[in-house]
């Protein structure tokens, strides 16, 4: 073992279908159009059921979500009632349904797997007002995943990954490795989290939330903004209906430093980036663009800038999508990867919303204006509580 280029020896992993749901829209195209127009999806929210103090939040529009869900329910499971599904389950079902609409039925068979990425799942079921929900057991992530899997008729029981803010990137990495190893031919990765008083009060207690929409990488950044999101990616060993984009490397590391603060040096994220690039057989100068985690907390953005410098990516164009739709937790790695894939397909990079003036220990090449430019290979990174870091490399064939 050792130095051989694994990406060339194993079978390639193609990206074959996707969906993003955020405050910006309910399909990838809708969301990308809104990104192009440059208008973020935050709204000042003073709903006391969600937040004790008014905050900018990026919320998915409930009426549209429910209307879309009802249509799918009538079409596929007329015997079931809308009330039997939680808000997050509706998001997952609408997202997966949209991503797989054009895909052949074999996607649900024995050579396929559904991976669910979520940090808190149906955590709102702990709320007093939701005590009467049909099935309190759905507080368990695996039970929620089972409901989603059987809704679509997946033969294999879904795999659930819950690894803080790297859940989405870790799920994509796991999926890609499974296909490469020949374990499955198709893996559907769906990531999602709702906003609830539980999560918002927790981040408030950490004093981690910005009073204004977050400003990743900016000198005036003052904490993160939270958002709801759900996204689905179909990874496949078949090129038939796929894009020409492959997953060509990935790596996960741990800081072994602190459970709620990032590494001071960025060394461990840099290590993940280095390993992922090595697996992809790629040099740092072959990376066209970095889709960063960019939460807009003081320490995360600092750490990321140091890591990118160590990894030799200091001058590579970089942005954070969180200035548009906030930190969407278990969805973040999935939906930010999809936006990255669209950048690759369209050769178009998005301005890093909220960024005006550099304010990091390392001067990064943060994208200031939307730009049409050849985009060949991309890196997506994420870091999270528990000291975890993840990196994944996408290559355009």
């Amino acid at each position: 073992m050792g130095d051989f280029v694994i990406g060339k020896m194993m079978r390639p992993v193609y990206i074959a279908g996707d969906n993003i749901i955020t405050s910006l829209g309910f399909t990838t195209s809708e969301v990308i159009q809104r990104l192009e127009s440059g208008i973020p999806g935050f709204q000042r929210c003073d709903d006391r059921l969600l937040t004790p103090t008014p905050l900018p939040l990026s919320l998915i529009k409930t009426d549209i979500l429910n209307a879309k869900f009802r249509d799918i329910l009538v079409m596929h499971h007329p015997e079931m009632r809308e009330e039997q599904f939680t808000r997050l389950e509706r998001m997952f079902i609408v997202s997966i349904h949209d991503a797989l609409t054009e895909i052949a039925p074999e996607i649900y068979g024995s050579n396929s797997l559904l991976i669910i990425s979520s940090t808190k799942g149906n955590i709102d079921l702990l709320e007093e007002g939701k005590k009467n929900f049909t099935d309190p057991g759905r507080i368990y992530l695996w039970k929620m995943a089972d409901v989603i899997g059987s809704f679509f008729g997946f033969v294999n029981r879904p795999l659930v990954i819950s690894n803080a803010c790297i859940s989405g990137v870790l799920a994509l990495s796991t999926a890609a490795r499974m296909i490469e190893a020949g374990r499955y031919d198709h893996v559907v990765v769906a990531g999602g989290d709702i906003l609830s008083e539980f999560v918002i009060s927790g981040f408030l207690s950490f004093q981690a939330l910005s009073p204004d929409p977050c400003k990743p990488f900016d000198i005036a950044r003052n904490g993160l903004s939270l958002g709801e999101g759900c996204g689905t990616v179909l990874l496949s060993s078949e090129f038939k209906k796929s894009t020409s984009i492959t997953v060509s490397g990935s790596s996960v590391t741990n800081d072994a430093n602190h459970i709620s603060g990032p590494s001071r040096t960025g060394e461990e994220l840099a290590m993940a980036i280095g390993k992922a690039l090595k697996e992809a057989g790629m040099n740092p100068d072959e990376v066209s663009y970095v889709s960063a985690h960019g939460t807009a907390t003081l320490y995360n953005d600092e750490m990321e800038s140091k890591a990118l410098e160590i990894a030799g990516l200091q001058n590579t164009p970089v942005n954070s999508f969180k200035g548009y739709w906030g930190h969407t937790l278990g969805a973040a790695g999935v939906i930010e990867s999809i936006a990255t894939l669209r950048s690759m397909v369209n050769n178009y990079l998005f301005r890093s919303a909220g960024f005006n003036e550099p304010g990091l220990p390392v001067l990064l090449n943060v994208i200031r204006e939307n730009v049409q430019i050849p985009v060949q290979n991309c890196l997506k990174i994420a870091s999270g509580f528990g000291g975890c870091n993840a990196a994944i490399v996408f290559r355009k064939m």
Partner: protein, 218 residues
């Protein structure tokens, strides 16, 4: 691909028993509650680690289980810190602490959300605690499954080890919900370490071995 992997150490911690490599480490005839149980276990391990007292119950159990597993082995010396992966699975994620945290925000007249509780409302914090303690910097994955699923744990570990994303792995099942808990951990390596663990042989890392260890009545 498909190298044979070996279980070089394993242990089980349950209310009534602690087992390491088939040897019963303790039998607990009187169980009072988790707090008393875990305190006794901490004392038994004879370590001094003040951060232990700040951990939630899931982290406490997994942390001590990893202590027991790594004790008297050269596992951590055999590998670079970034060559060791940690894969943990459970059923209720962090629900035990989610409930505790929820109590602090339920009543608006008695509202006291605390960051030191909230941080433990993510199950992978347990992995973080183990990594901090032993300076492990390799691959991480926290999986959630209805029951201990040896097949899924093995699949996840093999994805990491077969392609050299790591050379060895600490993996298994750590579940805590109220007074119900159970921990089953394994060290998985590419080479046997017979001398180290005084076993007749190191079992292959297979569904059969994991199931046999897990289901055996000690």
């Amino acid at each position: 691909m498909n190298e044979i992997l070996f279980i070089t150490q394993w242990n089980i911690i349950r209310k009534d028993t602690g087992v390491r490599n088939e040897k019963v480490e303790f039998n607990n005839e009187i169980y009072v509650n988790f707090a008393a149980f875990i305190k006794a276990l901490y004392k038994k391990e004879a370590i001094s680690y003040p951060k232990f007292y700040k951990m939630d119950n899931l982290s406490k159990l997994g942390f001590l289980s990893a202590e027991m597993l790594l004790k008297d082995t050269a596992f951590l010396d055999r590998y670079k810190k970034e060559e060791i992966g940690v894969v943990i699975m459970n059923s209720s994620s962090s629900l035990d602490t989610d409930r505790t945290y929820n109590e602090t925000i339920k009543d608006k007249s008695n509202y006291f959300p605390s960051p030191s509780v909230f941080v433990y409302t993510l199950p992978n914090i347990l992995i973080g605690e183990i990594c901090i303690r032993h300076k492990i910097k390799g691959e991480n994955a926290f999986l959630v499954s209805a029951l201990f699923d040896p097949g899924k744990v093995i699949e996840s570990v093999k994805l990491i080890l077969d392609k050299d994303h790591a050379q060895a792995c600490l993996c298994g099942w750590v579940e805590v919900l109220g007074e119900n808990f159970e921990s089953v951990l394994f060290l998985v390596e590419k080479e046997k370490t017979l001398k180290e663990n005084n076993l007749a042989d190191d079992s292959p890392f297979t569904i059969e071995s994991l199931t046999q260890f897990y289901q055996h009545k000690y």
